[in-house]
Symmetry: D2
Subunit: 357 residues, 4 copies
């Protein structure tokens, strides 16, 4: 089945299963002449990798990336860039007792129904591990955006009901929750630890803000910027909702409140509020682009759950394995990566038409 | 710029501006042999068309559809289907005083920034009028789905803070708010009328439920069913957020609560709850598919608003024209249409691989 | 089934059957700000339209184009451009006696096999009439290219074994054969008339030359310029082969002869010969781009032919109707159009990456 | 730049340079449940690999393939299949003296013009070595087709003016020229050796025949089967022309001769001749599909040639390195692979619509 390619002229095509030889991505459409080294990608992978803190899964993957193509003498060549990450700490045996049942909240049953065959080792292709490939590609997109003055900031806006009220950028990478609010951070971590102790899991909200985007990104009708972002972000495993700007809160606003008032800031048009989240009519307006992803609690919990085995018989399962009690902190670089990929693609498309005027 | 095509093997390509000769759509990939007449499409267009009730814009468009191709002797031929709707009640002069300014909350400034030129008559291509083409195509998708046992139900889940608590299907088309709850309906309408009287506008939430979907729809990684739905629905003008199943509420659930418990219902696997909204691992699981769109209040209000003219000078604008104080009721068939198009596309892709096993 | 869309960021989506209400095209990705009027398109349609000379079909279609969208105040807006051509001189009754048989050399049987249903009136979607939509879109692409200094010249290089030896550009539109060689032209016409008198048909070769293309058009691996041209041109009904530069003659050349020797012409790199047809490694090199299409003789002939009816019974058929004894002269603008569409698409892609350096 | 992805629902995305770490491909859309092992792919790679005979380049690459994903317990899982081939015998130093000049007939100058940067080691991405990835993917496509009763046969129809008159299938892999005619084979080899001795190179024609294709493959208008084949095959480095069935010979035929006469063969419709090459109206008709690729002589020859260095100064070059005097025999599996990929993609698309009837 299709589904492993995303993008319009900057595309990524990913591959790999949780417990196969490795995972990776082929990126096509990266402009030539961009300085790129493995360390640019490694930095982002390290933010996503398992085992990075006490509140993430102890699966120990170094996630070392190898650049297989598309870079020569430290510069991108304009041809397809392949990135490979070998799987190292595979304990497929952890899954031996799971292969004959459908874990609740997982893709086990739907993959079986769809494909007839299923790689049961750690969810196979449906594993969150596939997002490492996204993060690797996102690192390249970020590098390109950064050279164009576009920077991204991602963080946990909410975890287990605890909300970050302030955004202190330098705080984010200082705490295991990737919370931008120094007061909220310990409370988030506490909630995650509590859930873990109770063999349960919790959800939250990732927020990504993009600064420096020129007006004009996104295309009319079906390729509105929020539509592309929605596609990109809702394709990340645990995401159940996406919103831009005021998002679901806009639902209860009056038009006179929601409409952002434009004014001149020097020779630039800005708006006094940013309910639009930097996107009007599907096209960036030069303000901050703000997007949020609602992430459900991870499906794998060690609490006993009722489910079915593959023959349809009721069984109770306690999922041992090595799992994250909350995926939000590790999802931050993933949502950033997807945002970066969409923005870079839109920037290139916009360039095509700007150049032609 | 691209952006007017959506879909993978069932595609739609739309065209048309609010005040140009007409709008329309070319659908490609509709299976041959499907009974289809103009009346099938007209029925859906009538649900979206302006002037259908006291709480919608009085612009009088009959939205008569003409089938230009792809149907012969009452059956689809398998070749591209073109549908044309002429614009009739164009009062471009309404916009004469607006052409030199940027209306707040509209795409005026972003379209100018992106394209250099702008069709200022009624928002041109950025007008909500383009959704008529989506509804026309969606009618065809619904016809196909219906022949396969898949039916869709859409309604206003919330308007101006008033929430529908019950869903009584036959109630929906009986009230101007398309509210499924007979108690909430008059209160929704009251809120819309109040906003209108106060020269303002209100937002709300459209919910669409799909029944009868087989397991297996959606594809791994980037073409997860919720990602395709997110793309489709966030591309509709006023939508600021999309969620499936428990959506943003999942954020505060524990895994032990969120995970839907599977059980056997005869020879079918079902789940006791449906927090997943019918989608697990990006693939339909045979339960109801549930999707919601957050719609902001319409940007056009007649209350005075501060803005800029195209030279950057501050001005105050009162948007007269003919506008909807709330777009939610008319958006119901649009969100249904986008859902139908995604499901039909996924069903065809799934067929390709089922057939090949 | 899919198949009605072509292009990467400049796309065309066509619709329409030979004897339906009309045919047309939606073009997406045309840059904004391009001066465009119906007359720009009409001029090209007139070169393709039936009944233009004594050696073409007498079907009388004025092929008047209507611009339905994407143009405002005489300029393209950057949004999708829809073009509609109504069918006028439909004599579907001509086909009454053909609907129950499979005409030799036609798509009657394959369309039946593929679709189950078939629009038997004048080949339906498989009719050469669909190329009017291509020519209309090609006219827009040509306008864009022309503004960028790229011009196209198409002509009949060979008809019924008569070859044009010289290319005198101004001669081409002066004779009904669109032959660039004043000596060969009357002999080509004579051969066409002879075939017509003998109730038969003849084939030939269309050649298109593009001048002024910058180096850099086309993309590595699968989107080499010749591959895109091949796709575009082999999709035209009667084309059975495509070649670029020396083409099939290159097969018998030695490398030392085939390799074009580069030299400096002022500050430009040129080559002394152009066996490559302006494309090296899949990418334009700044020399003339030369492409040729091999066109088979039209399938519709009035000579008696043995065939099968739809029940499988052998029958003899004489196809009366109104047909072209040779399609080559009318195919010239079609092959030009497809070439123009590919070049314009490549130019925009190239712009995206040039702008990003 | 884009260009590294091909296909509609069965897609391949390739990567890799001649002298980088390796080359490979990600295939998406392969049906689940297909038995697949490395040996299935290796067999085809061995037919393409360098150093297989006295008349090919002595570069010694074992071209060992590693399956990185998409296969579990010997069966395809329906998810993306990644295949990696490491480069082993890289002698980049061979190219040290070439990095500052533009080799005649190569992509050196066009890649420089397009990308600004260039991987000069053995043509980088423009190297024929990228076709190993195509062959690997083609092996999977062949496996799928074979399970559906479709088989492919490829061979050298012509080399250096020597034409194979007969096609004896079992002869093909017996001689280094992959010539199906035992009389022509030694003469082809002799011509290749002669060219090699004279430090020159020769071209030829690859023909591929597909047996067992059901009617219905290919889609209307732009995705006609011959158009997809043309795109696929013209994207192979040295191909300068493509034709199907009678191809360029159809140009001199009369319609009464070209039209294939249908007859009933039991309950199957067949045609007495096959000038159409198994494709009518862009759709397979159940007869043999016949396609031919015109291959120019390789650009790398050791004969002295005049060219330019990268500063524009005239120089003379003798290309030492390790090169093929004729690429036709090694191109046979490449053209087969591209044909297989197109047919498999069309078969899946057809399945989608057959299933939906």
């Amino acid at each position: 089945m299709p589904g492993s390619t995303f993008g319009r002229i900057l595309t990524i095509t990913t591959f790999g299963e949780s417990h196969g030889p490795g995972i990776g991505v082929v990126m096509d459409g990266v402009p030539p002449g961009l300085a790129l080294g493995a360390q640019d990608i490694q930095r982002e992978l390290d933010r996503r990798r398992p085992g990075q803190s006490a509140i993430t899964t102890p699966r120990s993957e170094k996630d070392r990336v190898e650049i297989l193509s598309g870079v020569f003498d430290g510069l991108t060549t304009g041809t397809s860039i392949a990135l490979l990450i070998r799987n190292e700490d595979k304990r497929s045996s952890d899954y031996d007792n799971l292969k004959d049942l459908y874990r609740p909240g997982h893709a086990d049953w739907t993959y079986s129904a769809k494909f007839g065959v299923r790689d049961w080792r750690g969810s196979g292709r449906a594993s969150g591990r596939e997002t490492a490939a996204r993060v690797a590609a996102g690192a390249v997109a970020k590098k390109f955006l950064s050279a164009r003055g576009v920077t991204l900031l991602g963080y946990s806006r909410e975890i287990a009901g605890v909300r970050a009220v302030r955004v202190v950028p330098e705080e984010i990478e200082r705490n295991a929750a990737r919370c931008p609010d120094p007061e909220a951070a310990p409370r988030m971590i506490e909630q995650i630890e509590k859930a873990k102790a109770e063999k349960d899991s919790v959800g939250g909200i990732v927020e990504v803000v993009a600064d420096g985007c020129p007006p004009g990104l996104g295309d009319p009708v079906f390729d509105k910027l929020e539509a592309l972002l929605g596609h990109a972000i809702l394709s990340v495993g645990a995401v159940r909702g996406v919103e831009v700007g005021a998002g679901f809160e806009a639902v209860r606003m009056r038009g006179s409140v929601y409409n952002d008032e434009p004014y001149m800031d020097g020779d630039r048009i800005r708006t006094r509020t940013n309910h639009a989240g930097g996107i009007a009519g599907g096209i960036s307006n030069g303000m901050q682009i703000v997007v949020r992803a609602a992430m459900r609690p991870p499906a794998s919990i060690s609490k006993p759950q009722k489910t079915l085995d593959t023959s349809g018989k009721p069984v109770t399962v306690e999922i041992a394995g090595r799992h994250d009690p909350c995926i939000v902190p590790r999802a931050v670089p993933v949502i950033e990566a997807m945002t970066a990929l969409v923005l870079a693609d839109c920037l290139l498309i916009q360039e095509a038409y700007r150049g032609s005027r």
